[in-house]
C-alpha cells in the first residue's frame, strides 16, 4: 500500500489547549477517507494542517513520502474544498476554476482545455461566465470541487463540503462525490460530523474526539466493533449496560443476571456492555429462547417510525434499553406495561473496558 497522507505524532496547540493531540494516521493512495467527530474535536484543524493553512506544533506530515509539515499551502500538492466554498465573488466560474492553473503559469490553451474539462466533470457546462452569487448552493459546491480538482492534486481535502445543502441535495451529492472520486482516482480526505455521510461514502473512517484519533477502520469495523464507549455512542444508537466479568466470556449485569458477551477481559473487570437496538429480539415470556442471552423486562413505551418500531423496555436488572424492530408484515405488537423477554446473540454484545 502506498501511503498518500501520513501523520505522525501531529499535535496542534492553541495556547494551552491541544486542538489536535498526537495523531498518527496513514491514508492509502486512492482511498476515500473520512475524519468523523463532533464539532471542536480537531478534525478540521487536522485537515487544515494537511492543507498547510495551519502549522502543527509538533509532528510530521508526509504527502506521498514528502515531508510537508512546514511547507506553506501554495507549495503542497493538495487542494481544499472549503466549508463555505470560498469562491472568489469577483470572478466568473471559469476564472475561479482556472485560478490555480493561472498561478502555476499553465499555458493559456492548456488552461482553457482543463478548465472546460473540470467544469464538464462537475456538470456545470454553460455556467462558465456566471458569477458565484448567481449560482445555487449545489452549483457553488460543484464549482468549489472543480476549482480544486482541475489542479490534479495528489490529495483532495474536503471540509464538510455538503454541510450547507439541504437533505435531498446532500444525498444526491454524496453519490456524485463518490462517483467523481472513483473517476479521478484521487485520494479524498473528507471531514464531516455527519455519521451517515461518513458511513455511506468512506472506504475508511477515523473517529476523533477532543483532539484524539480514537479509532480508524471501515464503516463496518466502527459500527460493529467500536473501540470504546465514545465511538459506540457517537456512531448509531446504542444501549449501554454496566456489568462485571464473572467468568471467561460472562458478564454479570444487575445483581444476578448473567449473560455471555464478546470479551477477553479478566475476571473481576468492570465493563460496559454495548448492545445495538436492532440486534435485540422481543419474545413472549413463555417462549423458549435457545443459545441466546435472555433477560426479562416490561415494555414502557412504543414509538412508531413507519419503517420500524421502537420499544423502550425496563429490564429486570433495572436498566432501560431501546429495541428496534423492523416493521414487517404480521409483526406482533407489544403494549406498554406488558411483561416480555428480550434476547440477543452473544456476538452482538460487546463488553467495552473503557
Amino acid at each position: 500500500m502506498t501511503v498518500a497522507v501520513g501523520l505522525h505524532g501531529v499535535t496542534k496547540r492553541f495556547g494551552d489547549v491541544a486542538a489536535v493531540d498526537s495523531v498518527d494516521l496513514e491514508v492509502a493512495d486512492g482511498e476515500f477517507f473520512s475524519l468523523l467527530g463532533p464539532s471542536g474535536c480537531g478534525k478540521t484543524t487536522t485537515l487544515r494542517m494537511i492543507a498547510g493553512l495551519e502549522f502543527p506544533t509538533e509532528g510530521s506530515i508526509r504527502i506521498f513520502g514528502e515531508e510537508v509539515a512546514l511547507a506553506p499551502p501554495n507549495k503542497r500538492p493538495v487542494n481544499t474544498v472549503f466549508q463555505s466554498y470560498a469562491l472568489f465573488p469577483h470572478m466568473t466560474v471559469a476564472e475561479n476554476v482556472g485560478f490555480g492553473l493561472a498561478m502555476c503559469k499553465v499555458p493559456d490553451t492548456e488552461l482553457r482545455r482543463r478548465v472546460a474539462e473540470a467544469i464538464e466533470l462537475v456538470r456545470l457546462g454553460g455556467m462558465e461566465h456566471r458569477r458565484p452569487t448567481q449560482l445555487s448552493g449545489g452549483q457553488q459546491q460543484r464549482v468549489a470541487l472543480a476549482r480544486a480538482l482541475v489542479n490534479r492534486p495528489k490529495v483532495l481535502l474536503l471540509d464538510e463540503p455538503l454541510g450547507a445543502l439541504d437533505l435531498k441535495l446532500r444525498q444526491a451529492m454524496q453519490v456524485e462525490l463518490k462517483d467523481i472520486q472513483r473517476e479521478v482516482g484521487i485520494t479524498f480526505v473528507y471531514v464531516t460530523h455527519d455519521q451517515e455521510e461518513a458511513l455511506t461514502m468512506s472506504d475508511r473512517i477515523g473517529v476523533m474526539n477532543e483532539g484524539r484519533l480514537l479509532q480508524v477502520g471501515t464503516a463496518e469495523d466502527i459500527y460493529e466493533r467500536p473501540a470504546n464507549r465514545f465511538v459506540a455512542d457517537f456512531i448509531g444508537e446504542t444501549n449501554f449496560l454496566e456489568g462485571v466479568i464473572v467468568a471467561e466470556g460472562h458478564v454479570e449485569i444487575g445483581s444476578s443476571h448473567r449473560v455471555r458477551a464478546q470479551t477477553n477481559a479478566p475476571v473481576g473487570t468492570a465493563v460496559t456492555l454495548m448492545l445495538r437496538p436492532e440486534k435485540i429480539q422481543i419474545h413472549r415470556l413463555e417462549e423458549v429462547v435457545d443459545g441466546r442471552n435472555r433477560l426479562e423486562g416490561t415494555v414502557q413505551h412504543r414509538l412508531y417510525f413507519g419503517d420500524s418500531l421502537f420499544y423502550q423496555i425496563e429490564l429486570a436488572t433495572g436498566d432501560m434499553i431501546d429495541v428496534r424492530v423492523e416493521n414487517v408484515p404480521s409483526l406482533p405488537r407489544w403494549d406498554a406495561g406488558q411483561r416480555i423477554a428480550v434476547s440477543f446473540h452473544h456476538d452482538a454484545a460487546d463488553a467495552l473496558t473503557e
Partner: protein, 275 residues
C-alpha cells in the same frame, strides 16, 4: 430581507413622521438652494434679486488669489489623499489580518485619536510642533497635517470592509498556489477596493473641507480655497462668494455621486437565478 412592517408605526404616527421628515429636508436644502440661486443674481449685494447673470462667475475666474488658493486646495487634497490612502490601507491590513504584533494595541488606539480629537486641538498641536522643529510653514506643512488626520479615516473605512471579508477566500488563494503577493493582488485587493475608494473619497472631502487646521499651519502664499473663502466671508458677503460656494458644492456633489456610482458598480450583481 429586512423590510419594515406595519408594526413600525401607526398611521397617525406615520403621517406625523412624514410631515416632520419633509420639514427637515426643507431645513437642510432651502439655505443651500437659495445660496446657489443668488450666485446667478446680477445685483451687487444679496438683499435684492438682480436678474439672471453669470457676472460673479466671470469675476471669480479672474480673481488670481482665489484661483491660486483653488490650485493649492487641489494639490493638498490629491497629494494628502494619495499618501494617506496607501498608508491607511496598509495599517488596516496590519490590524485586521495579523493577530499579534509589537505595539498593536497602542497603534489601534493611536489610530482612532485623530478622528475624535477636535480640529482646533489638532491644528494647535501641529502648529506648535512645526514651530518647535523649525519646519517653515508652507504648502508642505498643510499636506503633512492633512495626511495626519486622513490616515485614520481611510484605515477605519478599509478596516470595516476587511472585517466583512471571509478569511477563507485568502486561504483558498494560498491553497490554489498563489504566493502571498498574488493572493493579495488577485483576491484581497479587488475585494476591498470599494472600501479603499470610499476611504479615499472621504479623505478628499475632509481635505477640501478643512478650515481650522489649515489656517493654523499654512504659510505665506499657501492658502487653500476654504481658508481663503473663510477670510472673505469674515470681511463681507458678496454674490461672488455665492459663486465660489456653488463651485465648492458642485465638487462635493461630484464626490458623493462618484462614491455612490462606484458602490453601485461593485454591488451590481444580477439576482440569483433558479437552477
Amino acid at each position: 430581507m429586512n423590510v419594515p412592517t406595519h408594526a413600525a408605526a401607526s398611521r397617525t404616527t406615520d403621517r406625523a413622521l412624514s410631515v416632520h421628515g419633509v420639514a427637515v429636508f426643507l431645513f437642510l436644502y432651502v439655505p443651500i438652494l437659495l445660496l446657489v440661486v443668488f450666485s446667478f443674481s446680477g445685483a451687487s449685494n444679496l438683499s435684492v434679486w438682480g436678474g439672471w447673470s453669470l457676472r460673479w462667475y466671470q469675476k471669480m475666474f479672474s480673481n488670481d488669489p482665489l484661483l491660486r488658493s483653488m490650485r493649492n486646495s487641489v494639490v493638498v487634497a490629491v497629494v494628502s489623499t494619495g499618501i494617506s490612502t496607501v498608508l491607511g490601507t496598509a495599517a488596516a491590513l496590519a490590524l485586521e489580518r495579523y493577530r499579534r504584533w509589537l505595539g498593536k494595541r497602542t497603534f489601534d488606539a493611536l489610530l482612532y485619536l485623530p478622528v475624535i480629537i477636535p480640529d482646533v486641538t489638532m491644528g494647535v498641536m501641529l502648529l506648535m510642533w512645526f514651530t518647535t522643529i523649525s519646519w517653515p510653514l508652507s504648502l508642505t506643512t498643510i499636506i503633512l497635517s492633512h495626511i495626519a488626520f486622513n490616515i485614520s479615516f481611510v484605515a477605519i473605512v478599509v478596516r470595516a470592509r476587511l472585517a466583512n471579508l471571509d478569511p477563507s477566500l485568502e486561504e483558498a488563494a494560498a491553497d490554489l498556489y498563489a504566493d502571498r503577493w498574488q493572493a493579495f493582488r488577485r483576491v484581497t485587493l479587488p475585494l476591498i477596493m470599494p472600501g479603499i475608494v470610499g476611504g479615499a473619497l472621504l479623505a478628499l472631502t475632509l481635505s477640501l473641507d478643512d478650515v481650522v487646521i489649515t489656517s493654523l499651519v499654512q504659510g505665506p502664499g499657501s492658502t487653500t480655497l476654504p481658508v481663503f473663502v473663510f477670510g472673505l466671508i469674515k470681511r463681507q458677503v458678496t454674490p461672488e462668494i455665492n459663486a465660489v460656494s456653488t463651485v465648492m458644492l458642485l465638487a462635493s456633489m461630484v464626490l458623493v455621486f462618484g462614491s455612490l456610482a462606484f458602490q453601485r458598480d461593485t454591488k451590481a450583481e444580477p439576482s440569483p437565478e433558479a437552477p
